[in-house]
């Protein structure tokens, strides 16, 4: 292994960490702020470090500190100490590991060496995800059982039944996808989606396999225990559900695990149905051939975008009292944005001026694709949050009816139809 390959592997692991763990506090913030704005409230906006609020993001840091330093209380009745402590770890680790097979960019070729841009360089792809996503429910069930509380047990039972019924439909919808894409390796699946359908529509999964997309997205919501399928923690009936008896960081692991799982589900939805790291109409080859134009476009649009962002910040990032330290934030943000602009434009300008070598084109492609993936991931996470603050919870029988009587037959029918189409096309 050369130093380069070590460097790329470490970079990939860091990226995977950032997208899963690093995103969790941001997602908590997004959740709370979006919930506020949807309900005509403000959401957390006070917390600040020397006036820097970042729109309330600092609150997430404060909450994490609080979780770490809280008393880790455990009821005397809980005797299965090991299981009790293991449960949140299982939930967290399985959510975290399922992120590891998502490709962030097309295979990177530097000096003739080929690197797979994902956390773990394996071809298992979607099988890995299905296996680990199903594992997290064991953590929930173990936690619910070891808590020795009726609420926890009921919550865990609901979660178990729900995941079993939705996993079936999810697996079946994935089968029809595999028939279409002809591979379980997520990199191949994304490469397939870079092509054009009939020459003018991007062949994204959501267009090629709309029914599978709907089924998969619905089941992903259930899999991540998000509203409308978050029966496992119905506050009105069973308090906190499976995590009623947990406190401090053991609860924190459940909590963060939920967001990592949501992020992982979004990542998989993006990879399977929304073209993965591809920009629409720009697959890897096109992106590489048109790289100078793309870079020029970025150089032009970045200052424009920053200008509008700055105007918005200046207008809205205000605090009630004029003299408050929080009012100094806009100036700091402005400096930061200008600095970023100068840095990016100077870098890209130098790159264009010196001329693009194959290696620099490849690296630039990878960077653009990672950013595209991040943007899509963020959007999909936003959809998860948005749905949560729109829909009420399903009733338990409705949930099971939907899972077994609607999604499951639909998924099977979809497999048959896709198989027929593929065979007919292949003839």
């Amino acid at each position: 292994m050369s130093t380069l390959s070590v460097f790329v592997v470490i970079l990939n692991v860091i990226l995977a960490l950032l997208f899963s763990l690093g995103l969790a506090p941001i997602l908590v913030w997004v959740e709370r702020r979006v919930a506020g704005l949807i309900q005509d409230r403000l959401g957390p906006n006070r917390c600040h470090i020397k006036g820097i609020r970042l729109g309330g993001l600092v609150q997430s840091l404060a909450d994490m500190l609080k979780l770490v330093f809280k008393e880790d209380f455990q009821a005397k009745a809980i005797q299965e100490n090991f299981c009790f402590s293991l449960a949140p770890v299982i939930v967290f680790v399985s959510a975290f590991l399922s992120f590891m097979v998502i490709p962030f960019a097309d295979d990177l070729i530097i000096n003739g060496e080929r690197f797979i841009m994902q956390g773990l360089p394996t071809d298992l792809g979607i099988l890995w995800f299905l296996a680990l996503a199903g594992l997290s429910v064991y953590g929930i069930m173990l936690g619910g059982w070891a808590s020795r509380s009726k609420y926890s047990l009921l919550g865990a039972m609901r979660a178990g039944a729900q995941v079993i019924s939705y996993e079936a439909a999810m697996g079946l919808s994935v089968v029809s996808l595999l028939i279409t894409y002809g591979s379980i390796h997520l990199g191949d699946i994304v490469a397939y989606q870079g092509e054009l359908l009939f020459g003018f529509i991007p062949a994204w999964g959501i267009i090629v396999q709309p029914i599978a997309a709907i089924i998969f997205i619905v089941t992903a919501f259930a899999e991540a225990n998000r509203t409308p399928f978050d029966l496992a923690e119905g506050e009105s009936e069973i308090v906190g559900g499976y995590h009623t008896e947990y406190s401090a960081m053991r609860f924190g692991l459940f909590f963060v695990g939920e967001y990592v799982a949501m992020s992982a589900s979004s990542a998989l939805i993006v990879t399977l149905f929304l073209g993965g790291y591809h920009l629409p109409y720009l697959n890897t080859q096109t992106l590489q051939t048109t790289m100078p134009y793309v870079l020029g476009f970025i150089i032009l649009t970045l200052p424009l975008g920053s200008f509008y962002a700055m105007r918005w910040i200046k207008k809205h990032n205000r605090w009630y009292l004029k003299s408050d330290v929080r009012n100094t934030e806009s100036a700091v943000l402005q400096k930061g944005l200008i600095g970023l602009n100068i840095l990016v434009i100077a870098g890209l300008g130098a790159l264009l001026y010196l001329g693009l070598t194959p290696t620099s084109t490849n690296v630039a492609t990878a960077v653009i694709q990672v950013l595209t993936f991040a943007a899509k991931l963020f959007l999909m996470n936003f959809v998860f949050v948005w749905v949560r603050w729109t829909l009420p919870r399903f009733r338990y029988d409705q949930l099971q009816t939907l899972g077994w009587k609607v999604l499951m037959p639909l998924a099977i029918a979809n497999i048959v139809i896709s198989a027929i189409i593929i065979v007919v096309k292949g003839l």
């Binding site: 704005l37 005509d40 709907i214 603050w389 829909l391």
Partner: protein, 164 residues
């Protein structure tokens, strides 16, 4: 009497598909989200401790106060009507004879336990002399011990009517 059949909703195909309704709801929430991010947000949240509420009306039931006569002496005649009317039984009155000739009786002690009070206003309705009112406009009362929440006659007399 005839039987009225109430139409059940949720049985048509469109409703059973869930998705149209879900997208409709998502449209509503997104429109709220976007208006609130744009230049004219609908948010009426105030930044509370710094910004005080501005909608405390004249009829708002705040912390009680004991009113005074024209000569600045206590108006209450210790008739116990308020204490009798109080559903929370949180008014404690001790009467004494009034010697200044204005009236015959007045309270020696007049305590209200705010931790028990449910702010129903029954005491105000019951008083025949208009001696107790809840128009001080105080909506938040802070104390460090339980005892701090038992308002004495002096404190109640010191509370002023809220200026509109």
């Amino acid at each position: 009497m005839g039987i009225k059949v109430v139409k059940r909703h949720g049985n048509t195909l469109k409703e059973k598909l869930y998705l149209p309704a879900i997208f409709g709801g998502m449209k509503t929430t997104l429109s709220h989200f976007i208006t609130n991010l744009s230049d004219k947000p609908h948010i009426s949240t105030i930044l509370y401790p710094e910004e005080q509420p501005h909608d405390i009306s004249e009829r708002y039931r705040g912390v009680h106060r004991l009113t005074k006569r024209d000569d600045e002496s206590v108006r209450c005649v210790a008739c116990f009507m308020c204490a009798t009317a109080c559903p929370a039984e949180c008014i404690f009155i001790e009467a004494e004879e009034r010697t200044d000739g204005v009236d015959e009786k007045m309270p020696k002690r007049f305590d209200i336990d705010l931790l028990e009070c449910v702010f129903c206003g029954a005491c105000v309705e019951a008083c025949p002399c208009d001696a107790i009112r809840m128009d001080s406009g105080i909506f938040s009362f802070i104390g460090k011990k339980r005892e701090d929440f038992v308002l004495t006659k002096e404190q109640l007399l010191a509370n002023k009517e809220k200026k509109q």
